[in-house]
């Protein structure tokens, strides 16, 4: 069915063809390089602020292990260290107190007997510990439920409008010949070039004039005319043979029917791609919502989680945890929509 199948099919029992090796090497490398850091991000989101600042970073989240020791009738939780004593023996001791470079250590089993140890001769005993408070604290303190609703609203609305308006425009630009078509196309491609950060101030004035500040529509509308979407869909629609459309016109189909009954279904994979990207972009949009939304009733998740970024300090442990939490919905959407990409159009009677 596809090139690679032919290219990678193992040649009649003669062992692996070089393309097989290459394919699998690429996939394994991809797994490590693409997925590794992302997995590490998830693990890091369970680290305490101190562990996040640590050099070199650990792979798994660790915390110092403590033991309960009774000293002078009081039960205390003391940190445990692997200690090398002067006579060369290695023991696990708990630290009672530390003054300068010398620590007073005791054996948890025998707390009355203390030894003084130079802190260079010991390493903390650590165990894997997940700092779930990174997730729980921000969820309790902030109205993340409302932020979630706002984000869902923005993402859904923006995606629906994007798909509709972009596919209509792309249809007109790919399947009709009219004067000014190239001019419109050029305009669209030209505006692709303008980075948002450059347009911020003028766009702010426009939104402000329209009374859309501090509203979710102020976030949605400027994003839906994305030139990327029009460009992507038009390029895809160009591959649909005009004969199909002519045949439909013979059958007295209206132009609108041609658009939604013939062209749209055949554009399925490209629409699915655009839908996935639209969801991801709108969900992760940060700079623009930050400018438009300054009241917490209309905060989206990205704006909400960035309230942990201060001037002099950033509370990364909260930001990472909330980033991971906000990734879950997009992953679900991706898993759902990506089926459309593979469903393909090769079998729909197109020659």
């Amino acid at each position: 069915m596809s090139v690679l199948r032919m290219m990678t099919a193992r040649r009649g029992g003669k062992g692996w063809h070089w393309t097989d090796v290459f394919t699998w090497a690429w996939l394994i490398m991809g797994l490590i390089v693409m997925f590794g850091p992302a997995l590490w991000l998830v693990l890091s989101s369970f680290k305490t602020p101190a562990a996040l600042a640590e050099f070199p970073p650990t792979i798994l989240p660790y915390a110092a292990q403590t033991v309960s020791v009774t000293i002078d009738g009081q039960v205390k939780d003391l940190p445990l260290f692997t200690t090398t004593l002067d006579d060369g023996t290695v023991r696990q001791l708990a630290e009672v107190r530390r003054l300068g470079t010398m620590a007073t250590m005791v054996d948890p089993a025998n707390p009355t007997d203390s030894v003084k140890v130079n802190i260079q001769n010991r390493t903390p005993v650590r165990q894997i510990a997940f700092a779930t408070s990174n997730y729980v604290d921000p969820l309790e303190k902030n109205n993340f439920g409302l932020y979630l609703w706002n984000s869902v609203f923005v993402t859904t609305m923006a995606t629906i409008i994007t798909l509709l308006t972009n596919s209509m425009a792309a249809f007109a630009l790919s399947k009709y010949d009219f004067r000014g078509r190239n001019a419109v196309m050029l305009l669209i491609v030209a505006t692709l070039m303008v980075p948002l950060s450059v347009n911020l101030v003028p766009l702010y004035s426009v939104i402000s004039q329209l009374g859309l500040l501090d509203t979710l529509w102020g976030v949605i509308l400027p994003t839906v005319a994305t030139p990327t979407g029009v460009f992507l869909l038009r390029q895809y629609m160009l591959t649909i043979p005009d004969e199909l459309i002519e045949a439909a016109r013979m059958d007295k189909a209206s132009e609108w029917q041609i658009y939604w009954r013939i062209v749209l279904p055949l554009t399925g994979p490209a629409l699915a791609v655009l839908a996935i990207f639209s969801v991801v972009w709108r969900w992760n949009d940060f700079l623009w919502p930050l400018i438009v939304l300054s009241r917490k009733e209309v905060f989206t998740l990205q704006v909400g989680l960035n309230t942990f970024a201060g001037e002099l300090n950033v509370q990364w442990h909260y930001i990472l945890a909330m980033t991971v939490a906000t990734m879950i919905p997009v992953i679900i959407v991706f898993v759902f929509l990506q089926k459309f990409i593979t469903s393909g159009i090769a079998s729909t009677g197109l020659k």
């Binding site: 797994l31 850091p37 249809f171 030209a190 090769a346």
Partner: protein, 334 residues
């Protein structure tokens, strides 16, 4: 969207859309009878172009006025006309290839850094995305899983991308730790000029390659299978099949990938800003960061200079894209 024999969740979800589309047919038929095909073209174009005009073109025009006015004020009425002064300031150089001889040395440093970045990053991106798409389209077990693996970074916000890689690449980061464990020489990835430059390319490819691979994959899916079957029967060599069938039929998608990645590369900012902030020195200072710093990040903003730089950057891009589109047309005609 595609017709499926048994009702799936997708079909249930699209049912209201189908119903709406059907309901819209009557009035639109009337409109078509009234205005002809031209009216329908307008109908298809207007919603998108209206939003586009208000939220893209109008700000662009305002931006143009910024570039010819001076001062630090943000509202046009408070800004005096200065003509081409900003452009003059940006373009004054004894030798344009040597930024230190320029009045705005940072601008020209950014221009040359960005040019170098764009050429290398777009080539790397296209090749990696192409290979990935071909492999994902081939017969491998667990396709959905592998697709997710390569797509995953696209889901991350740029700030997080920059941050993860900073933790990996910094002097005491994960990579150097691994090298230390393996008894290999450690490298200051982010404070040596060429390594830092390579890191910005690598990280931006990492973050976006899933996006482009997916576009190419959608294109590969659309290539009719019988073409390959015919080729197989003729005993055509796989390499030849790729050059003669796959590549030509994939051309529209490939063009999307090249144009979009080119534009994105020119505008590269967020993840690089977190990763290197333009350092070491100014080795990874790119244009958008320059514009951002001049126009927004400093307390004494200079929106005029920022807009002038942005318009010049946009102008260059328009020319580049025109060349590319012209090339397509020339190729199509051939």
């Amino acid at each position: 969207m595609t017709a499926s024999p048994k009702p799936s969740i997708g079909a249930v979800l699209t049912a209201p859309i189908v119903w709406l589309a059907r309901a819209a047919d009557m009035p639109l038929r009337a409109w078509q009878r009234l205005t002809g095909r031209g009216g329908m073209i307008a109908f298809f174009l207007i919603p998108n172009m209206a939003v586009f005009g208000i939220f893209v073109i109008v700000p662009l025009v305002i931006n143009f006025f910024y570039s010819v006015t001076g001062g630090t004020a943000l509202f046009l009425s408070d800004r005096p006309f200065v003509g081409a002064e900003h452009f003059d300031r940006l373009l004054t150089c004894t030798d344009h290839f040597n930024p230190t001889t320029c009045r705005e040395d940072m601008f020209w440093t950014a221009v040359w850094n960005t040019s170098k970045f764009v050429v290398l990053q777009v080539s790397a991106m296209t090749v990696v995305a192409m290979i990935t798409a071909l492999i994902l389209n081939s017969k491998i077990p667990g396709k959905a899983f592998w697709r997710a693996v390569f797509f995953f970074p696209v889901l991350l916000s740029p700030v997080v991308v920059g941050l993860i890689w900073k933790w990996i690449l910094q002097r005491q980061g994960l990579l150097n730790f691994a090298l230390y464990e393996l008894d290999m020489t450690q490298v200051n990835w982010l404070t040596e000029r060429s390594w830092a430059f390579a890191a910005t390319i690598g990280v931006s490819v990492w973050a976006h390659v899933g996006f482009y691979a997916l576009i190419l994959l959608a294109g590969l899916q659309a290539i009719p299978g019988d073409l390959y079957e015919a080729a197989e029967m003729d005993g055509t060599k796989p390499g030849r099949v790729f050059w003669r069938i796959t590549l030509p039929l994939l051309y529209p998608n490939l063009l999307v990938v090249i144009v979009l990645s080119l534009i994105r590369a020119v505008q590269v900012f967020d993840e690089v800003f977190v990763l290197t902030s333009g350092g070491p020195g100014t080795a990874t200072l790119y244009l958008t960061q320059y514009i951002y710093e001049v126009g927004f990040a400093s307390v004494l903003r200079n929106p005029g200079l920022a807009s002038a730089a942005a318009l010049m950057m946009g102008g260059v891009l328009v020319v580049l894209t025109l060349l590319q589109l012209g090339l397509t047309r020339w190729r199509d005609r051939k």
